[in-house]
Symmetry: D4
Subunit: 158 residues, 8 copies
């Protein structure tokens, strides 16, 4: 049985329509992933425990989606040394500026790699993960090249 | 020996010049307090443990000062049921808007009570704590009345 | 007859759908409260008189909801020494940034404890009040623990 | 003895360097004015009383300068029916955006006329007052014409 | 025949639903007014000519509503010495922040008195005008007192 | 005698250190230019007259620098059909966001071409002018190619 | 056969409803144009090649519309010495502030001339192009005068 | 000879004081890196060529630092399938908000992983790279654990 390579966490199950974009993108690259609803604020212990177990389970990359005071990605980055990708969500007002700044303005020493707001960000979070995984999986590099070429062709066809 | 009534946490010892304003204000009301440097991101376990122990130690109110992706107050509020007051700091850019939004835009269920940015906020964080403590300590109510009157007189004298 | 413990003020009756979230949360904890429509700008005398009478009536915490140039919480904090919690509302434009900054950027000496914008803020304002009241009411501490556990369980069940 | 025509209020005596610009401009037009330090938050009763007495004293226009959660102009407008001009000050962070929004986003029914931030705003607040007073004093209209012409000439001379 | 006391200018006839609020408010005080569509950018000569003629026609106050790069109020203030009140409109994006800053950040020497964004601002622009006109018309002062009292009563009745 | 090809206008002579960057850039391309201090708000008639005369004088491009409620470029665009390039200046607060939005958010029908804030913007305003002039002057195209190549070489040399 | 004078590029075919405003405006002036979907990020080579070929094809002005991290106009300006006009689009959140700042805050040396957000910007981008083309085509100057006069008449008719 | 594992690109050599933080962090982990000054706008061809050659040279991660309209990270991500980490710089105004939004708001399909503004961001960019490299280098995982522990100890020692 193939191992989970990417864990996707979100602060609320209401965030699924956004996170779904990450899942679909990962699956289009054949990358096994799991989605977990856990909140930095409402389930802090389970969030910490889940993050701490990731390396042991063989997971390679974590994607965290959260809105408002989006502490999830930072808290996860504090509990694992895996690369953590944060998707800021526009769910609490201010067009998501609260989530963007909460996600990205991390103190030096605890890194979070942020992507854009909402669905485009969710797609790109998955692609960052694919690029990372491709470093040790040449078949993914090939698929990324195909993806880029197909994407370009779609635009060029108008 | 009198118990600590207010715990003041800050994410970095560099924040002390701001936090000092809370300490001085609390001391002017004769309220015993302690200052602790703990980071939601860099010392997550110790932060959680410290927050969880507060009620047992008889502490009544927690004040948390943090800048940037200011997760400290939210994480503390997730680990204790004490009233948590957050002071956003302007230490990572954007005039502290990052810290303000991170502090105040908490998800429903995990409350943080935020005050203004920097030193005025630090003074007011202490005063919120005094007002809370005064609910069960009439001598503090008297002192708050004196404080307000003296403050007004200072302005009226020009 | 049980006394009112939390007074909730709002600048306009149009704010009721938001404030209702505070009421429901307080009632779920069995906390007696009253809602009062009073405006810092349109009924300044009545607002001042109402705020000044609160301590005498045995009220413990005031919650103020206002939008735009949200002076209500600050004005109430100027007329009482009770803890004042401000809920900024998005009712006059700029996604409520006007209300957020008006509520939270208080001058040193007159403290307001702000929560997030709109409904999540209204729920959390009530929870800040509950945490304050729990300091002298152990049954509320127990209920807060239940609340946090149930909230976590709901998330963990997905 | 000539009556005070313009009352200038400010929330803190630290605001005097800005407010001085209003005073100098008014005096260049020969308009008798007084400066008063009063805070909407720290001296609420005196602020209300001062505002309520203005019409009886023959004052025609009120200028209010305040920073942060700049409630002064709004509170004064709630206690007098004179024209109230608000100068937002950059004294509490966010480049004065807090004061600008607090000053200008008044609820319908209680009008404040805002000017720009800081010293340019303070000069213009005085000029708004002069334009208002000129409606019933033709000598001021003549002086305003001179002012505009001299101002233009200064620019044209390079 | 009674003279026009307040001229209301707007940059586009699409702004009428907002400006209508000023008209209704002025009419409720029995103040004769006229509405004129003129653009600082698209009809610059007519705008200048209209503004320059206002004093000669006996007009006392000008209200200007404009969105985006809201130059109308500033340009009018450059062509008349009457008090000019600017209503920023949210018609070109950024929630009207463009219009707010364009209206209010005038250079020293050419004053514009700004009010809040949109309909509340339009109502208040009219009330600023009424307060100015009341300085030389005691019947308006009486009506303003009635207005404030009725407004307060409406809130107090809930 | 060679004609002026680019007119540079600024709202205040204090803006010269920024505008100097445009002048130096134009001169490095051998383009004859003139700098004129004129204010949309303080010298409206002279500004209009100057703008209206530009085409007749053979000027090809106008560059306007202004801060705050930066009406200059828009007003000039209303009085000439030449291409108008606006440089927003950070001179009145808000980091120049006021000038940026005032410059760029023009109503449809009166176009202003905006560049970035301050000195980089001033350099680029000149380069936009050079690119426009190069359309009918092949020697300028050659110089632009040299400029780009030298600029690249400077970076490549490190 | 007449040559293309204005090339319009957009990052995604979804941007066509905005770009259509540029096309219609150009056509109302009888200016031959072409619309091309090319992305700075997804088709970088084709974008560079297209931009580099423009001068050789006799194109005079390029208009680029893009949202989010709107790199298109800057990248095109890096590959041609034609005047490049950037239209920021509100397509990725933050009301288009991301696109506005990405479009306009170019480094010195690579100029982009930006217009306002969305449809008004698209119309004005075309008008900037017409003003540039009119420098060497007197019939366009005549049409611009007609356009301005008709536009003014439409406003004056109310 | 050991291969370069991380390439660090910056738009201008003035950015070196920030980028130096990335270099020092990488070196503290013993990771071989190179710093290259290349601009998306001023050296577009060399930037593309450099990015395209990275995979062939065995580089694993690219870090790009840029201010203003920060196109560098996006353009590099368009020319390589390596993970690209963007550091937004505060070098062109608006406190770096321009660079933050330009860096992070990428269209779906071309991913950039952004970190916070300035020096803290530069440190974290290096740490994101280390975490990525650690996926295939257990010695780095060990060093990351040491780094986190030492960082925590430093805080705990106060």
């Amino acid at each position: 049985m193939e191992k989970i390579q990417v864990a996707i966490m979100m602060g609320s199950k209401n965030d699924m329509p956004i996170v779904e974009e990450s899942v679909k993108m990962l699956e289009s690259f054949g990358i096994k992933n799991e989605v977990k609803v856990l909140s930095a604020h409402r389930t802090p212990k389970e969030t910490a425990a889940y993050a701490e177990a990731l390396i042991g389970r063989g997971v390679k990359v974590v994607i965290c989606a959260a809105g408002g005071s989006a502490a999830l990605s930072g808290v996860v980055a504090a509990h694992t040394n895996l690369p953590v990708i944060g998707i800021p969500l526009d769910s609490m007002g201010f067009n998501g500026l609260d989530a963007l700044l909460s996600t990205i303005q991390m103190p030096p020493g605890v890194p979070v790699a942020g992507v854009g707001i909402g669905k485009p960000g969710a797609k790109n979070a998955a692609l960052v993960a694919v690029r990372i995984l491709a470093l040790s999986d040449p078949s993914l590099t090939k698929k990324l090249e195909d993806f880029s070429r197909e994407q370009a062709e779609k635009i060029l066809k108008g």
